[in-house]
């Protein structure tokens, strides 16, 4: 019999540059260890990461409003398996954080060491050094109660 399965692939990879809004955001992280957002006064919404337009009214926005570095934990999950459903050696905790001054939430790792995170608790960004202009310039968010800070 001839082969019943023919192997194939989609021969592409990608290089994404971050665009105008996210470039400002990443430069803020890299150069000043701050989170930059954008505020639309008409809609009363502040978005983080920064954007150059408001998705609700399409107004042009300045990607320049500092938010955080502290915020509120809105939700979290403890991940025990990888994308292929294999057990992770060390489970990872991810959280959604609403930075102070922002209306939107940010997805990142949680750095809790003792005990479970609690929805509503105060958390604070822990930055790496040196920083390259990447989401990984933030190591994650730790509970403010742990005293994590600059």
């Amino acid at each position: 019999m001839s082969p019943t399965k023919i192997p194939g692939e989609l021969s592409v990879s990608f290089r994404y540059t971050p665009g105008v809004g996210n470039t400002a955001f990443f430069e803020g992280l890299r150069d000043r260890a701050v989170f930059l957002g954008s505020r639309c006064e008409d809609c009363g919404v502040t978005s983080v990461p920064a954007r150059i337009f408001c998705e609700r009214c399409l107004a042009e926005l300045e990607p320049s409003l500092e938010c955080g570095p502290e915020g509120e934990l809105v939700s979290w999950t403890l991940v025990r398996v990888d994308v292929d459903d294999q057990p992770l050696e060390r489970p990872v905790t991810y959280g959604l954080v609403r930075l102070d001054g922002a209306d939107t939430v940010l997805l990142h790792r949680l750095l809790h060491t003792g005990g479970e995170p609690a929805i509503g608790e105060r958390v604070r960004a822990v930055f790496t050094s040196p920083r390259e202009g990447s989401m990984l310039d933030v190591e994650g968010f730790a509970p403010v109660a742990d005293g994590a800070g600059p």
Binding site: S2, L10, V12
Partner: protein
């Protein structure tokens, strides 16, 4: 009669080689400009229609919602449509039926394409148009399919490459006066096109529009809303779309039947009985220079094979009797695929309002036709637009702004802060299915199998279990000879990611003896490239029995039947290349 729907606004980003802006940001630039052009706010918009060509350009398998924010779709009825390269014109059709159905009074239609993220070349995403089992093992280059069609078109009507090349010259010159154009060139000559690098003969570098980034948006409105919003609405008078067979090697590549079918649908709706008299400006789809001519014939604006002669006589020049691509088209403005199609609708809108500035065609055009083409080179999308004989403006120039979008240099692209590289690490295992499974078994036994349909009398290669025309099961298997005729061929000098080949490949559509139409894609070998001719008789050269595994590659290649034409085999091998992210 359908309710009347008008275009009332349009906007676009600059078309660039490699945009600093994300696809979302490009979409926003176009959408915002379109709304501003008719003094609307996003709150005034009832629904949003979006299009963007293959997902794999962006590596985002949900481009509709990915681009939603930039398209102004927040909290609105929103849908992405997709018909490959035909998408840009189709999104105006989507906008038309969204309004004509009464679902919305005002819609925004947005077309975005960002091809520059795809590495090493967006052709990697395009290669999926070739059949997984019977064509991709041959290592095809996307250019093959166009080169084969162009060669067939030239051969069928005895056309001169020079007559075709002048389309590229006309469009790049036209685009020199388009503020958003990437490829405008006022001083380009036919010699420049004929002297440019040969990619896959007859396609040379300047016959084809390169990859580009950009976005376009239009605003469409119901009759009541349109009259409220502007004193110069441009009405959608007719829409049409049509798809030919998915077996592209079974089509007569000399003529785009699907474009004619779509055009007849659109003309019928528009009440256009004599398009050559009733159409004053045309924006046919021109990713290649021959395609403008091919499509003008499909649009019934010229007799078959006669568009090149008309173009040579200046009929299609901006000041000719039938201006074609006064915008500069894809060859001149650029080819961000879906956006380029909608750019044609925007251009007709500006032309029919008299707002095209330096690009404005002379006289008082009342009606125009825009057309795009895509999927497996088989879909035609057509829109007929008219101003109802209303007065033309003269003072305005549109796009009436310095269009936004910034192009990154290679260095800026490679060193951009925050840039991320990813591979779409997907692997597939394709089932040949019943019919092709049997064909592969046959190839292993050195037999070429076809199926037959007694209803339409066809012998079908590639074989299938059902006849797509009669929509009934095929009637049985037959073995066909290993000899056939070269219907069309190309001499290809580059790989799919545009690296030069040491020895050219000769892909061809081969019609096997005893089959009724078309044939299949394979390579020709044991022949000097200069000796290959359409109509040449060829025979299959098989791998030895022990090496045949049930693959299209069990036929190594086809060689001339005439021994005098044969020479030592140089190279025909398939050239699948590993993908690496460029440094």
């Amino acid at each position: 009669m359908s309710p009347r729907v008008a275009v009332v606004g349009a906007g676009m980003s600059r078309f660039v080689r490699r945009a600093q802006e994300t696809g979302k940001e490009l979409s926003w630039i176009a959408t915002r400009e379109a709304l501003a052009s008719c003094e609307l706010k996003l709150d005034d918009v009832d629904a949003v229609c979006l299009t963007s060509a293959p997902d794999a350009f962006d590596g985002v398998h949900r481009k509709g919602d990915y681009l939603a924010d930039g398209a102004g779709a927040w909290a609105k009825p929103y849908m992405r449509t997709y018909v490959g390269g035909g998408s840009g014109v189709f999104t105006a059709i989507q906008g038309w039926y969204t309004v004509a159905s009464g679902l919305a009074d005002v819609v925004v239609c947005v077309a975005e394409e960002k091809m520059s993220s795809c590495q090493p070349h967006p052709q990697g995403a395009f290669l999926t148009i070739f059949d997984n089992i019977l064509e991709r093992p041959l290592g095809p280059n996307l250019l093959w399919i166009f080169a084969l069609e162009m060669q067939r078109y030239m051969q069928a009507y005895g056309l001169d490459k020079r007559d075709i090349a002048q389309v590229a010259v006309k469009n790049k010159r036209n685009a020199a006066e388009h503020p958003a154009a990437l490829l405008g060139q006022a001083d380009i000559t036919v010699e420049d096109v004929l002297g440019s690098e040969t990619l896959a003969w007859p396609v040379q570098r300047l016959d084809v529009s390169p990859i580009s980034d950009g976005a376009v948006a239009i605003v469409m409105a119901s009759e009541d809303a349109a009259k409220r919003l502007t004193d110069r609405p441009v009405w959608i008078q007719g829409v049409g779309w049509n798809l030919d067979t998915t077996y592209w090697t079974n089509r007569d590549l000399a003529y785009p039947e699907y474009v004619e079918n779509a055009a007849r649908m659109a003309y019928g709706m528009a009440g256009v009985n004599e398009p050559r008299k009733e159409i004053q400006v045309a924006e046919p789809y021109d990713p290649f220079d021959y395609k403008e001519l091919h499509h003008l014939e499909g649009l019934l604006l010229f007799d078959r094979g006669k568009a090149p002669e008309a173009a040579a006589d200046g009929v299609t020049a901006r000041d000719g009797d039938l201006p074609c691509c006064p915008s500069g088209g894809l060859l001149g403005v650029g080819n961000p695929i879906a956006a380029a199609g909608l750019m044609k609708i925007a251009e007709l809108f500006w032309q029919l309002r008299g707002e095209a500035g330096a690009r404005q065609v002379p006289g008082t055009p009342e009606r125009g036709v825009a057309q795009a083409w895509g999927d497996l080179m088989q879909v035609g999308t057509v829109v007929v637009m008219g101003n109802g004989g209303g007065p033309l403006a003269t003072a305005t120039q549109s796009p009436p702004f310095a269009p936004r979008a910034t192009s990154l240099s290679d260095q800026e692209f490679r060193s951009a802060t925050g840039a991320v590289e990813q591979r779409l690490d997907t692997r597939y295992e394709w089932d040949p299915g019943e019919a092709i499974g049997a064909v592969l078994d046959g190839l292993r036994e050195q037999r070429i199998l076809a199926t037959t349909c007694i209803s339409c009398g066809r012998t079908l290669v590639p074989a299938r279990k059902f006849c797509e025309r009669c929509f009934r099961p095929t009637d049985g298997w037959t073995e066909v000879p290993h000899t056939g005729t070269v219907e069309t061929f190309s001499i290809c000098h580059v790989t799919w990611d545009m690296r030069p080949l040491d020895e050219p490949q000769i892909p061809a559509v081969i019609r096997l003896d005893g089959t009724s139409e078309g044939g299949f894609l394979h390579l020709v070998g044991e022949v000097a490239p200069d000796d290959v001719r359409a109509g040449m008789q060829v025979e299959a050269v098989w791998k030895p029995a022990g090496e045949r595994v049930g693959s299209i590659l069990d036929i190594e290649y086809f060689r001339p039947l005439e021994p005098e034409l044969r020479r030592e085999l140089v190279a025909v091998a398939a050239v699948e290349l590993p993908v690496e992210i460029a440094p």
